[in-house]
Symmetry: C2
Subunit: 224 residues, 2 copies
């Protein structure tokens, strides 16, 4: 069982400090929702986001959508051997259940996430598809207790997808941590909970590309 | 240089035989476009699509969006060593230029494709980002003239991502053909132009997963 954690993900509802902005109020009115029930999205809220802390790491729910589609389309997940968590930049954690079929259309994913942030969980036939908790990255790690926790970052120690996968495969319950933000690096709050930090490419690859490749190499490592 | 061809892709504008349907006319009115200038999308046009030939293979532009995002986010493409073509189910071919940054938001991709189907090309600063032609799969192969053309399908000969990548890497101008449809198999018009047809997994993997893994293994094969 591999645990995938998408950390400091650029997925959150519009934070309180932006609710009074004219552009935000207009968007909320248009959607017929409260500002606090709408996903923060750079595509719509760019100008209002400028004064936000860590603005460059936030408001990209589309990145999380494609990363989750990538992860949940792999044989590893389909065969029930991949556990997925999204830790967000504002210290919420979404646990993705087993065999969840996420909406492929972005607007449906958006609606689902907005519902999750309001209700705290999404059920279907008695099982939790998605569950939201208030947890910091450190608290999440304390809760899951992986046997090893490996993060990937361009500022990590040089390595390859293949070798990192082989290392993960040595452990019973390994966790792989990938950044869920468009630019920047993990905060210290994340790196301090990692056992190792590796760089697997000289280019800053997008989260979905890293996830696709690491899961593939992990499958090769465990099925060999 | 690897050539990626997404074949018989479920990407087309609403075909003439559906224009008179009430639901289609309503959708066109809502979008303020002619029916023939809107992408066929099972999400909206499911009921009208029922009587369409090959309906199960059509109307999934979202699949092509995620497949193209996957391909264009790889180091191989970023380094100018991947040429991408989308051959559609209605025998149109889209040539994706070098270093094109496709919209990540689906609704923007949709708008771009609708514009491409009307105008025939999308330019930026004098270079063609996207170019549309009327070509069958066979005509496309005659035009590109790959040194080898390998297709992937669950009904092909058993093989692995790694071995197929090594075979592709032996040639100067190899073409990899992946189906761009949600279910079903290549038509004879496609398979008759292939040099080999391999199955690389017992599961019917989605096009974007296959593309991510094959490009990754091809990179490994050529950079070793």
């Amino acid at each position: 069982m591999l645990i995938l954690i998408i950390a400091e993900a650029a997925l959150e509802t519009i934070p309180k400090e932006l609710w009074s902005y004219h552009s935000i109020r207009k968007h909320a009115l248009l959607k017929g929702k409260k500002a606090g029930e709408i996903l923060l999205d750079r595509g719509y809220h760019h100008s209002a986001m400028i004064k936000l802390d860590n603005a460059e790491k936030r408001g990209r729910p589309d990145l999380i959508h494609i990363s989750l589609l990538e992860a949940t389309s792999t044989p590893l997940y389909i065969e029930g051997r991949l556990e997925i968590y999204v830790h967000t930049i504002t210290d919420k954690v979404i646990r993705v259940g087993q065999l969840v079929r996420l909406p492929r259309a972005y607007y449906r994913f958006e609606g689902l996430m907005e519902k999750l942030f309001v209700k705290g969980k999404i059920n279907s036939k008695g099982s939790n598809l998605l569950e939201l908790s208030d947890l910091s990255f450190k608290q999440l790690i304390s809760k899951i207790r992986p046997t090893i926790t490996i993060g990937l970052s361009t500022i990590g120690e040089k390595n390859t997808f293949e070798e990192v996968a082989k290392e993960l495969a040595k452990y019973v319950k390994p966790a792989l941590v990938v950044g869920g933000f468009p630019r920047g690096h993990f905060s210290k709050a994340v790196t301090s909970s990692l056992n190792a930090l590796y760089s697997i490419h000289e280019l800053a690859l997008q989260a979905h590309v890293v996830i696709a490749r690491m899961i593939y190499e992990y499958e090769k490592a465990i099925y060999k």
